[in-house]
Assembly symmetry: C2
Homo-oligomer: 431 residues x 2
């Protein structure tokens, strides 16, 4: 009976394959996308809810931040003891897309989720997208085993997992889908995973919202029609955002190198990082740079921020992540960009909300080399009216950051600078 | 004095080139983009205004359509006598991006503009984007001569010209920019021209609007949140739209081949095409399928169209363009898609406006192999709420149309179908 069923399926499959091969591929990937969406959407909902609890709990018990160095030791030890293999994080996922090695271990998911919530509970300055991406890719990659997928199809699974994770965690499924397709190369997009990336991102976002999770809203205010003056100002702002991306990339990697050089025991690095963060936060006399910093991001859209706000967030995030705490770079990059854009409204004649929105996505674009996903994200979050400004700002920041980025295993698909064309095909870590 | 100035510029240039090479490239391309935008934006405004006059004049003097066959002879003769070299139209532009030959002749611009307005004056069923793209690319390519640009930079100029033309003629600059980057390959986007494509598209649209040109508005109505059922319906609709794209591609090329085979004199082909169009329109007893058909497109969003409406537009456009009349394919594809989507609302439980919007962009996506530009266009025209539906519909239609398309010189950058991977790197015309 089962054999008969299978042979009928084979015959139907063969018929469709010759007449309309895309149809079968769509149906097969639809099923896989739904499975990915249910798993990833649920995981992201659980992550976002946990993160909110952790943040609320810390805000209610501010003394927790004094424990940050000790939380660092514990986190460092756990990852040192059981997590060495999964330490490369996002880069592990991206490098597996380019050069498939063994299937991502499932334990990457609970480890990174736990590590991130733990980091936030004690006030580390980190984000969410790294967690969402790694967790989602690790979960999705288990399908490779279950369905015995080929190398090519595993690549598609990993991309779709990243898309779904990014889309669900920020509530921006269109940007999520494009992010997954865009992030593993710098300077080009391939459409090999286009259908499952979109389908799993939209469905994962739907699943996450079913759990009652809601996402931040930002008030953009008035957006003027772009004209030549607007274009010039946007380019200027984009240059500032690109330099901030570059500063973030350099500072994080420098701190990480220094920390590895002078602190031999890996699990002690988060301890010293935690101490340094406490010291700086103490000197500044504020906790606004700790955790995700969502309130300050929201404030940047309506209240002009002081010119140093973006810098301290940049510094504290570089230390948090460079020291080995867990989480992503993206929400801090949103903070840095929105605060910088907000501060730029002192010099540049554009509305504060618009400049904050431009910075929000452009610093991320420059640091991650994903100008299309960043622009689309702004449209999903702030509406279509800001599209000329955000797109130009994202593209300029992307160009300014050069062949640098927060994902060192990203492969250069198309050079940004004509004189560096020979670097094409190498990873950012190699150049 | 002039020499001194030049040597100071050289020194500054060298300094920036070593410290921040992207900066100089941004500034140089900004200037070129502004020049492109002014020329292309003005040309598109002139084209759109002329087209409106021609359409209004024909509507006021319906007997003009009886002259269509004779207009065909004249058009055929003019292009046969002076325009052989520029006959490949869009394909001439795309193939020059891949294999740069000599600079596009400037006369391509007035020829295609005149030919299109002439076609519309007598009721041919054609579009606008082909005209906008060819006109804009031909104008922009003159900068190659003026600034003595390298082959690499000429590629960027042609892409930016296409982006600007597409963005300005439809009033959708974001889609225009992405279209220019997306259209010359099937299945991949390269970022080599990303800054000038966006800058010239946004500024060209701005310039066109300065002339007082306005664009069509469509009423989408209510858009439900997407869920699993919505996804499945969207995929079904996408399959229908993809088959319509395929039908259009096949019918146009079949008619063109038949016409070339049986009518030896090239300039007589539009005559017979015109006769056939007159005959069909006469039998149907309506002129709604002639010209751009904007009123029917708008109507599709609110009134369910009969299931044959899309087919007759498909037929008449295939004859018009296959016979050698001038214009683009895109506005007819909007018509075909919107009417088909509107008709599908009889069977599929989604709002008529939403289905029309999905068809509007998805049939275009399948025919031109530009799913991202098509999805973004829908967001610019109809708002962000419809994004999951339009994106999935555009992607499914893109996959269903296989390695076929209206632009035969498009190069396959990434296969749609795993079994056809060996076709990568060849043009659609070759496979």
């Amino acid at each position: 009976m089962q054999k008969n069923l299978y042979s009928s399926y084979s015959r139907v499959r063969k018929f469709i394959l010759t007449r309309q091969p895309a149809l079968l591929s769509i149906l097969e990937w639809l099923l896989l996308s739904i499975v990915i969406a249910i798993c990833v959407g649920s995981a992201c909902a659980f992550f976002l809810i946990s993160l909110e609890y952790a943040t609320d709990y810390r805000n209610a018990h501010e003394w927790l931040i004094y424990l940050l160095p000790f939380a660092g030791i514990l986190l460092g030890y756990v990852f040192f003891r059981w997590g060495k293999e999964i330490a490369p994080g996002n880069n592990l996922v991206i490098s597996n897309i380019h050069k498939p090695k063994k299937i991502l271990p499932f334990r990457l998911a609970p480890f990174i989720l736990g590590g991130t919530v733990f980091t936030h509970l004690f006030g580390g300055s980190a984000g969410r997208e790294g967690t969402a991406i790694q967790m989602s890719a690790a979960i999705s990659d288990q399908l490779t085993r279950v369905f015995k997928l080929s190398k090519y199809n595993r690549q598609v699974i990993l991309i779709s997992g990243m898309s779904a994770g990014f889309g669900a965690v920020f509530g921006t499924p269109l940007a999520g889908a494009i992010f997954g397709l865009e992030v593993y190369h710098m300077g080009k997009i391939k459409y090999n995973a286009i259908f499952p990336a979109f389908a799993s991102s939209f469905m994962a976002d739907y699943v996450t919202r079913l759990y009652g999770v809601s996402h931040s809203h930002y008030i953009l205010g008035f957006v003027p029609h772009i004209d030549l003056q607007g274009l010039l100002i946007t380019i200027l702002a984009g240059i500032c955002f690109g330099l901030a991306s570059l500063g973030f990339i350099k500072l994080t990697s420098s701190y990480s190198k220094l920390s590895s050089k002078y602190i031999k025991r890996a699990y002690m690095r988060p301890f010293f990082g935690g101490l340094l963060i406490l010291l700086i936060a103490g000197l500044l006399g504020t906790t606004k740079y700790l955790g995700l910093g969502l309130p300050t991001i929201a404030e940047s859209f309506t209240v002009q921020q002081a010119p140093y706000v973006f810098f301290f967030k940049l510094l504290l995030t570089a230390i948090t992540l460079g020291a080995g705490f867990k989480g992503g770079e993206v929400t801090p990059l949103f903070f840095i960009g929105a605060a910088l854009g907000s501060a730029l409204s002192l010099f540049l004649p554009l509305p504060v909300g618009l400049l904050a929105a431009m910075g929000f996505v452009a610093v991320f674009s420059g640091a991650s080399n994903t100008p299309l996903a960043s622009s689309i994200m702004a449209i999903e979050l702030f509406g279509i009216a800001c599209s000329p400004y955000v797109a130009i700002a994202c593209i300029v920041a992307y160009l300014i950051s050069g062949h640098h980025g927060i994902y060192s295993s990203q492969v250069i698909g198309e050079t940004k600078i004509a004189t560096k064309i020979r670097e094409t095909g190498r990873t950012l870590g190699e150049v």
